[in-house]
């Protein structure tokens, strides 16, 4: 009986590849993205916990915040800290608050040079006191990303790395890679650990009411 239970647990693990059948049953993850179409295709039904997720942006301001806001709102609403490292522009508090993000639990770390952003991201991921760390990195190599991935795993923290879309061709140790296109506004899953990336793009969530 014990062995049977163990096998069940093993099969439920998203990292077990189950052939063409795909993940048979996706148990609820603790980190849903807040977008039902995206949750439906991701193995585990949400962001990979304690790992790095990479968002590749065709350009700034094409819906990356609308994608992240539900997660950030849920975490800060749960009295957890979420940090932004080196955001490219000023997060306009009115809009973030309207999206449900608790601003007092959203420390922002500004940096003077890119290396500092990497250092801060690794420290915050490793410390494990933040529920999620969102960082904007421009020129970053595979080794630095791997360090961040290890830090996220050891601190059991959600890590989000936002990079330009030109990095899509480079290999990456991130558990999940999403590419965001501006026109048409859609989202492609390039890689997801523990599952086959769906071939069809997903429409991007609409940011604010229009």
């Amino acid at each position: 009986m014990g062995a049977v239970l163990e096998l069940d647990a093993v099969l439920r693990d998203a990292r077990v590849w189950r052939g063409r059948a795909g993940p048979a049953s996706t148990p609820g993850t603790s980190q849903p993205t807040g977008h039902a179409p995206l949750d439906a295709v991701l193995p585990g039904g949400g962001w990979p916990p304690a790992a790095l997720s990479e968002l590749l942006l065709a350009s700034d301001g094409i819906g990356e915040l609308a994608l992240l806001w539900p997660t950030l709102a849920r975490l800060t609403g749960n009295h957890e800290t979420v940090a932004l490292i080196a955001p490219p522009y000023l997060p306009f508090p009115g809009a973030w608050q309207a999206a449900g993000v608790v601003l007092s639990r959203l420390p922002i770390i500004a940096v003077r040079e890119p290396r500092e952003a990497l250092w801060a991201a690794e420290q915050m991921l490793r410390a494990g006191c933040c529920a999620a760390v969102v960082c904007w990195l421009h020129a970053v190599n595979d080794r630095a990303l791997r360090r961040l991935a290890v830090a996220a795993a050891s601190g059991r923290t959600l890590g989000f790395v936002l990079r330009p879309a030109t990095a899509a061709t480079n290999p990456s140790p991130a558990a999940l890679r999403l590419a965001l296109d501006a026109r048409p506004a859609r989202l492609r899953v390039l890689k997801c650990r523990g599952g086959l990336p769906p071939s069809a793009p997903i429409p991007l969530p609409v940011s604010t009411r229009h």
Binding site: D60, L90, A95, L106, A110
Partner: protein, 502 residues
């Protein structure tokens, strides 16, 4: 009453040795006039080469070619004694420095909290060993006896008057803390231990040696009162380490810095305080000292954290000249409120709490680089937000002052008022605002623009000098980005880009 005496046989030498990174180098303390320098104390390495206290410096130099020679500093001696009193103040409110080379504390009450004695003694040993002071520790029913016995026993605990009488009887008169001329005279009379002295007739003793000797003997036996002055912990911390060479690299500063920070932390633990702002002064030869000030968002006293922060601040400081001495000064010592940890923390892998991590980030990146944002009730986008540098602090620091009562009501009103303002801000801010705001508007250079909504007129600020009259539009560019752009009111000119709807 029960008294513990910490006797420090090598106070001067230990005080110097603990400031040095290599304690194994031969080192001597010297004193006396320039022509007749004499060794006061030698460390183990110097002792192994045949040097000993009382030797002349010339003889020592003949024996050993190379050793460090430090001037015996009586002021430093007293300072270390006070520092130790500050550390031991943690265990008792009655700490006295009246006896030379010793700290005496009343522990009858402390034993209930820290006892029994073997466990309490282990705590004291651990503290003193961590600070690098060799010591004797004796527990006795009266302070003077504790002090005399501490000079004869490394460790002893007496709890009954009978045991005390027995122990005192065996003390040799050379080490009974009587003046040298008295002990010489007593030895010439054929007396060897205090037992024999105690049996002498009191009247004869007074006639021969004066009343002071009898008073000392009575105090040792506990038959005469022994009023002591109590140590009061100072309200500030100020310690200094002088180097006998020029320090030109950062690495050589870490050891003394660690020592100073550890002393500060031990001192703070003693008075149950924390430190929020302190200053490290790097002193140079012939020019003003370089101050490096370290400010924290909350009072802390954890030595590792304090050292790490001081280290990263020091590493960034520009030091114009070689350093001759380092001084650590802390003038404000607010009460320390330990952060309450969560027993069922959501993240079991947490290794560092957010306040400590924030200090680490602030120390490395700069204090103004870590902040949160707040909504301000203003329609102008430039003024609709505010940076809060200490907004992420969970609790305001409690202040101990006579105005505490008044202060608390003030804080309450402050919170209510702020909440009201937030509520007002949340109500009045229209929901259609971009997630990203540009620090300053830039011209929007894009050909195919499609206006999605607008105009929304923002006209405000005529009263404070930054007048704004703009018509804001939500515009879609050819690349598919949605932007927040404006034109001056009533004009048909090009758009100015002010934000992204991301």
């Amino acid at each position: 009453m029960t008294w513990a005496c910490v006797w420090l046989p090598h106070l001067a030498l230990d005080g110097v040795l603990r400031d040095r990174a290599e304690p194994s180098r031969p080192l001597v303390l010297v004193a006396g006039p320039v022509q007749r320098r004499r060794l006061v104390a030698v460390n183990q390495a110097a002792g192994a080469s045949g040097l000993h206290a009382g030797q002349s410096l010339a003889a020592a130099q003949a024996l050993l070619g190379h050793f460090d020679c430090i001037e015996h500093d009586l002021a430093a001696h007293a300072r270390w004694q006070r520092l130790l009193a500050g550390v031991l103040y943690r265990y008792s409110s009655q700490v006295s420095l009246d006896f030379p080379d010793a700290v005496v504390l009343e522990v009858a009450g402390s034993l209930k909290l820290f006892g029994p004695w073997p466990r309490f003694a282990a705590l004291l040993h651990a503290d003193l060993d961590a600070m690098g002071f060799r010591h004797h520790l004796v527990l006795a029913p009266n302070p003077c006896a504790a002090w005399v016995l501490a000079q004869n026993h490394a460790e002893l605990a007496l709890d009954t008057p009978h045991a005390l009488t027995h122990a005192l009887a065996q003390v040799p008169i050379d080490r009974s803390a009587l003046p040298v001329n008295v002990t010489d005279a007593l030895r010439a009379m054929g007396l060897r231990t205090l037992r024999q002295v105690f049996t002498l007739p009191r009247a004869a003793l007074v006639r021969r040696f004066g009343p002071d000797v009898l008073a000392h003997l009575d105090r040792v036996r506990g038959t005469a009162p022994n009023p002591l002055t109590w140590y009061q912990p100072p309200d500030r911390f100020d310690e200094r380490i002088e180097f006998n060479f020029d320090v030109e690299s950062n690495e050589a500063l870490w050891f003394p810095l660690r020592r100073l920070v550890q002393d500060l932390a031990a001192f703070l633990t003693g008075r149950d305080g924390g430190v929020q702002r302190f200053e490290v002064l790097l002193e140079h030869e012939g020019r003003a000292a370089t101050p490096v000030s370290i400010g924290l968002l909350a009072a802390e006293r954890e030595p590792r954290l304090l050292f790490e922060i001081a280290q990263s601040r020091l590493a960034q400081a520009s030091v114009p000249a070689p350093v001759r001495a380092m001084r650590l000064r802390a003038d404000e010592l607010p009460p320390f409120v330990p952060a309450g940890g969560d027993l069922f923390a959501p993240n079991a892998a947490q290794t560092l709490a957010w306040p400590q991590l924030r200090e680490r980030l602030r120390a490395r990146l700069g204090a103004e680089q870590v902040y949160t944002l707040r909504v301000e009730a203003d329609h102008r986008p430039e003024r609709a937000w505010q940076r809060v540098e200490r907004g992420c602090a969970p609790l305001p620091l409690p202040r101990v002052s006579s105005r505490a009562q008044l202060g608390s009501t003030n804080t309450m009103m402050g919170i209510a008022e702020t909440e009201a303002r937030y509520a007002f801000a949340a109500r009045t801010i229209p929901p259609m605002r971009p997630g990203w705001l540009l620090a300053r508007p830039i011209p929007l250079r894009s050909r195919e623009l499609r206006i999605l909504s607008g105009p929304e007129r923002i006209e405000s600020g005529w009263w404070d000098g930054s007048d704004v009259r703009r018509d804001y539009y939500v515009v879609e560019t050819a690349e598919g980005q949605r932007v927040w752009a404006y034109r001056p009111s009533g004009e048909e000119g090009p758009f100015m880009l002010h934000g992204w709807f991301a």
